[in-house]
Symmetry: C2
Subunit: 316 residues, 2 copies
């Protein structure tokens, strides 16, 4: 009974599922398009089919599965097993767990996708063996995952752990959440790209323009780092500001949670030390009680897409 768990990373574009063993290895994984804008019952049916297909292809019996975990975008009520709200999916108050439970006799659980990514890294990745960690996903938006004593911190109600939706610059850039100046509006990949585009526009001679073939719609999160490294002044300013925004953000969450490690994930993590070293140096100076208190290391996540699957599997 129960040597395996299934983890599902429900994305806006694709849903990925994997069978995870007791050593936190993904035995087999698969993915299919989510086709987000359709009734949740159809999405859930496809998730169930995906998992059952994996069981068939691995020869693992359904009664060897001790649980199915789902990482979902949006505002999740983990206790009730519901998606309270997801803009991507156009869902409101969707009983995701109850629906999925119709296909499986083992326990089914759901949490926010960033929480699952954090849990995955704690169980098998960059924070393995560590029980208190926070993760910021620096992507289209900024997700936050908080692991306390080895478990996902959900908050007392749905909509906790939204680390991306806290003030960084009061009254600043408009955020997707409707407020201004949120962390997400400054440290997401989207924000970095926005700032790089602006710098390119304001500095026609900047290498930023050249590196995107003089078409700013080609801008990405790598170009400003590359241009800065090549000595471009406008790009340097964009990168320096980005690193300060990120440093301020991380200092805030250290002061709040004082975790053992801070993890960053997303494409910008391809920068490796160029990202983590300056942020580490920044928080050493800025965290409360400075050198008199413990300041955690800042690391890039290492599991990539697997983090969500492994984390979801560890919900159950």
């Amino acid at each position: 009974m129960g040597m395996y768990r299934a983890g599902i990373d429900l994305g806006g574009t694709n849903m990925k599922a994997g069978i995870v063993d007791e050593r936190q290895k993904i035995v087999l994984e698969d993915s299919v398009p989510t086709k987000a804008k359709r009734p949740y019952q159809e999405v859930v049916a496809d998730m169930a089919k995906l998992v059952k297909g994996l069981l068939q292809n691995t020869g693992i019996a359904e009664n060897e599965l001790s649980g199915v975990g789902i990482g979902s975008p949006g505002t999740i009520d983990a206790r009730r097993g519901e998606v309270v709200f997801s803009n991507n999916f156009g869902w409101e108050d969707v009983p995701l767990v109850a629906e999925m439970q119709q296909y499986f006799s083992c326990p089914v659980k759901v949490s926010n996708d960033a929480n699952c990514a954090a849990l995955g890294e704690v169980k098998a990745g960059a924070a393995k063996e560590i029980k208190n960690a926070i993760l910021l996903t620096l992507g289209t938006g900024v997700g936050g995952g908080v692991i306390l004593d080895g478990r996902v911190f959900e908050g007392a109600h749905a909509g906790g752990s939204e680390l991306g939706h806290t003030s960084l610059i009061f009254g600043g850039e408009l955020c997707t959440c409707g407020r201004r100046g949120c962390v997400e509006a400054y440290v997401s990949a989207t924000a970095l790209i926005r700032d790089a585009k602006r710098a390119a526009e304001q500095n026609p001679a900047s290498r930023l323009n050249e590196l995107c073939g003089n078409d700013l719609s080609n801008m990405n999160g790598k170009i400003p780092f590359d241009a800065a490294e090549a000595g471009d002044a406008a790009a340097k300013e964009v990168v320096e500001n980005y690193l300060i925004y990120l440093g301020e953000t991380v200092a805030n969450f250290v002061n709040i949670f004082r975790p053992e490690v801070v993890l960053l994930s997303g494409g910008v993590c391809n920068q490796g030390d160029k990202l983590t070293a300056p942020v580490s140096a920044y928080i050493q100076k800025k965290c409360f009680a400075g050198e008199k208190a413990f300041v955690p290391p800042v690391r890039c996540a290492v599991l990539g897409n697997s983090a969500g699957i492994i984390g979801a599997a560890n919900l159950v």
Copy 2:
């Protein structure tokens, strides 16, 4: 054995102690001057004497005491029972619990004073019967207390739960912690008084000047509210800004912790509904997922100075 606990609120000016019974009532309390700038051994000796005096005066035997809790300012390592750093006391790495343990055979524990205030309100005050709450102390500085599942959240290392030292306005007013733009630099009583003084200086005809007898050193946190209520435009602006700063702050912590209730304490809470109603209205609009998610009520703490004693007693 152990029907009572002792709680100590170790302040920079006075140390207060109380014997707390099983119904969370303070049977008897007393206080003496702390005389902060002296060796910690002397301060601890006075704390022990204070508690033993209370035992004597209540006729409670020392073996009826199940524990002694201490709420201390500064950066506390609750696990080790140490004050890592306290600016007020000039302490570094002080083994407060070990020292106090020399005087008592029952368990001794220590936590940050704001944590104790939060725990007191959860056990016996404005958040009684509630297991997940956050408290902001709006005083000289801004302390933060986070209660998760009925217990103080300490962070994995000393220096967690410092809610006052998170960004509100990047690069803004200098904070006592060395950073700029922290919550503390905008929503503390000190910040409110600073802003009221500035407004009074810039508006010589403002009632703000009159209400402090044309001596700005008399400015306090009540005067701007009084002047605003009397229709003074400069004071109105000060109060409106303060309420927005506080609203932003509370929205941040709701998005992070999504607690069942948010508590505010400190002298500015004498404003009651004039403080909590606009902040509640603000966070209803600004919290992540807005009306689709639970937005907690904002309440003023009710226990006053007793919160620290009752909270400290509940550490053990």
